[in-house]
């Protein structure tokens, strides 16, 4: 299985049978070992499941013209006479996202990855250099320490004598280049839904007036274009669902006559009638990924196109990674839970320096938190980077260990020792149990060092705890393998990896887990960093189908 990318331009160097040097499928990647590899942290989860992943850390033995082979493909290629060096530069983009639950789980896997990527030069163990880019964080050094166990953090660009001019970056004053205008709206005795309705009506209708004044559809460079598409941000799917019904129904029907609202004296024409599309775009986890991709494409279209979007409703799915230059108008329903989230989300609009963004934050004065934000709206917004919450990464907390220690330990044992790497290597634990001790030690050391605010006594306690857990897991693994050996059954890592063997690892949500003995139930691993809980299928029925309708 492979994916080849060719250029359709006949004059290009990469046309015909000369493919672009890009690999996009897992198996060829493990074989070709590209010099530059792009992945998401979710791929860490493949380490215990797939034996070939170790080749990425240079754990290869043989080669031929098609690439390199590790211990999983024993027959192929000729001997290399040694290993390849492991990766020596790791670039972590968007480090601020590797925090909270995701960062905690990723942090445990990082222990295994760091160890696999460490090379021994003489007496010295040399670890890869980690370069991370980050936005809106606080106390990044402790996050980095917990995640990568690096105590030294150098910031680039270094803060200069003037915070507006660091030589590498220069801040334009808002008077010359406005970026975003924040407006807070709150009303006594009104529900937030009503405020949303009123605000949406005024924004839709006001934008229409401006759009028409600037030449409407005929003007392809219409300066009001960014404000014709309203992006709604909601803190929960429940609020989004309710608001979607309001937009589909009430906003739409009222907008068609909204132009009647005008002042008699002095006469103004702030509002125009507007007919918005029935269809409301949704960017949330509950619509399929391909629809989200289609929605993003449509959002980028200027308003004169037929497939234009009047309104898109979103949850925090958009707070990262949505980079559509033309968007200029956002309505935030209720103050988001964290300031980092608020900054990230509202930064999705007004990304074009020539077309500043307008953000309308609707606050519920009857909620103390929203009220406080409303009362200090100006001060807060003038310096909201100060309010960014410190991120928390706690890879060695007990619940995090429950969830991911098995996977990370199995990953390190499997990839760290070539005899354990093949599918049936899971059974080798019987003879290699003592060799695995150093890996258990590795996790224990990391646990003791991951947080330099721990007292020596606490660090020692954590080290002992993690060491005991790892040893118990390895012993359990050995016992499982031993039990199977007595019935002459082989042990493999995952189902169908090698024929005729029992498996060691189960998916976290595998229904078969419930029927297993406790010792085997421990060996469950994630397939990604974020499988948290099962979903429940909901079947929509009509009450008429109820046999005994009341």
């Amino acid at each position: 299985m492979n994916l080849q990318v060719h250029c359709v331009n006949h004059h290009c160097d990469f046309t015909g049978d000369r493919q672009l040097p890009i690999i996009g499928v897992d198996e060829p990647i493990y074989q070709r070992l590209p010099a530059f590899l792009i992945a998401t942290v979710d791929k860490f989860a493949a380490l215990p499941w797939t034996g070939q992943t170790g080749t990425l850390f240079g754990r290869v033995e043989r080669f031929d013209k098609n690439g390199f082979y590790g211990p999983c493909d024993p027959q192929r290629g000729q001997a290399l006479g040694g290993h390849l060096p492991p990766p020596d530069l790791i670039i972590q983009d968007e480090l601020h996202l590797i925090s909270g639950p995701l960062g905690t789980i990723a942090g445990i896997y990082e222990t295994a990855i760091d160890d696999l990527a460490t090379r021994q030069i003489g007496e010295k163990a040399v670890r890869p250099k980690v370069v991370a880019s980050t936005a809106t964080v606080r106390r990044a050094d402790s996050q980095i320490h917990a995640l990568f166990e690096r105590s030294q953090v150098a910031i680039f660009p270094p803060p200069g004598p003037d915070r507006r001019d660091s030589f590498f970056a220069h801040t334009e004053p808002a008077s010359e280049m406005p970026a975003r205008l924040y407006v807070g709206v709150a009303a006594q005795g009104r529900s937030l839904k009503v405020i949303l309705l009123r605000a949406a009506l005024a924004l839709f209708s006001g934008a229409q007036t401006a759009y028409e004044r600037e030449g409407g559809k005929r003007n392809k460079q219409n300066p009001a274009d960014p404000y014709m598409t309203l992006l709604g941000y909601f803190n929960s799917l429940r609020e989004l669902g309710g608001s979607r019904r309001i937009v589909e129904d009430e906003v739409r029907s009222r907008l068609e006559q909204y132009g009647r609202r005008r002042r008699r004296e002095p006469v103004d024409t702030l509002f125009s009638n507007r007919s918005i599309s029935y269809e409301v775009l949704e960017l949330t986890s509950r619509v399929p990924t391909n629809e989200v991709a289609a929605a993003k494409r449509r959002l980028a279209l200027p308003f004169c196109e037929d497939e234009r979007v009047d309104v898109a409703l979103a949850t925090n799915m958009i707070s990262v990674g949505l980079d559509i230059i033309r968007l200029g108008l956002m309505v935030v329903l209720g103050q988001p839970k964290t300031s980092a989230e608020y900054i990230q989300t509202t930064s999705r609009v007004g990304r074009d320096p020539a077309r500043p963004g307008l953000i309308v934050t609707l606050l519920n004065v009857h909620k103390p938190r929203d009220r406080s934000h409303y009362e200090r709206f100006e001060t807060y917004h003038a310096s909201f980077y100060r309010a960014v919450e410190p991120t928390s990464v706690t890879p060695f907390s007990p619940r995090a260990l429950d969830r991911a220690l098995v996977a990370a330990l199995v990953a390190l044992c499997r990839q760290g020792d070539a005899r354990m790497t093949p599918a049936l290597g899971a059974g080798e634990i019987l003879s290699l149990r003592s060799a695995m001790e150093s890996f258990a030690q590795r996790f224990a050391d990391r646990a003791a060092n991951h947080d330099n605010r721990l007292s020596p006594a606490d660090a020692q306690r954590l080290r002992d705890n993690v060491l005991a857990r790892c040893r118990r897991l390895l012993d359990d693994w050995q016992n499982i393998a031993d039990q199977f050996r007595q019935t002459n059954t082989k042990l493999q890592y995952q189902r169908w990896e090698a024929g005729g063997a029992q498996r060691l690892l189960y998916d976290i949500l595998d229904p078969e887990l419930a029927g297993l003995p406790a010792v085997r139930r421990r060996f469950r691993a994630n397939r990604s960093m974020r499988d948290v809980e099962p979903s429940v299928d909901l079947s929509v029925k009509n009450l008429n189908d109820w046999p005994t309708k009341p």
Partner: protein, 148 residues
Amino acid sequence: MSNDQLRSSQVVTTFGPGAMVDLPDASVIVAGLDHWKYNLNQIPMVEEPRLVEKLRRIVAVPTLTLRAPPPASDDYTSIQPNIVGWRFPEWFIVQRTDTTARGFRRRRLVNLNSLDGGKFRDDDRKKYPVVPVRFVRACRKAHVGDID
């Protein structure tokens, strides 16, 4: 029938039986457990010994156990566990506005029975999208119903 999904914990807290849920394409009210489809042996048990003990005492059922909502299954050979949402409200407003001679706008109110594949086929034989009505009735004893 449809591929709507809810998170397991949402079914316990926000969207339990009797709650109204706004799905992307429908508004439903979650049905009671007697309408759910599941195999009791495949449902994960929730281990909360102290809560179970207390509940057993309160409801006087000594064999009471706690179960998670039935998780969705990828295995097409066995039953597909699911929970049920009744479409509610059953009245819809057609997304097509007429203007009368006197300048009033009106939209038709139609019942679920007159829908055709989730849309309303009007007298001009075109299909129009519908949205659920915004009002339902409720009584002091927390019953909810359509405004018929």
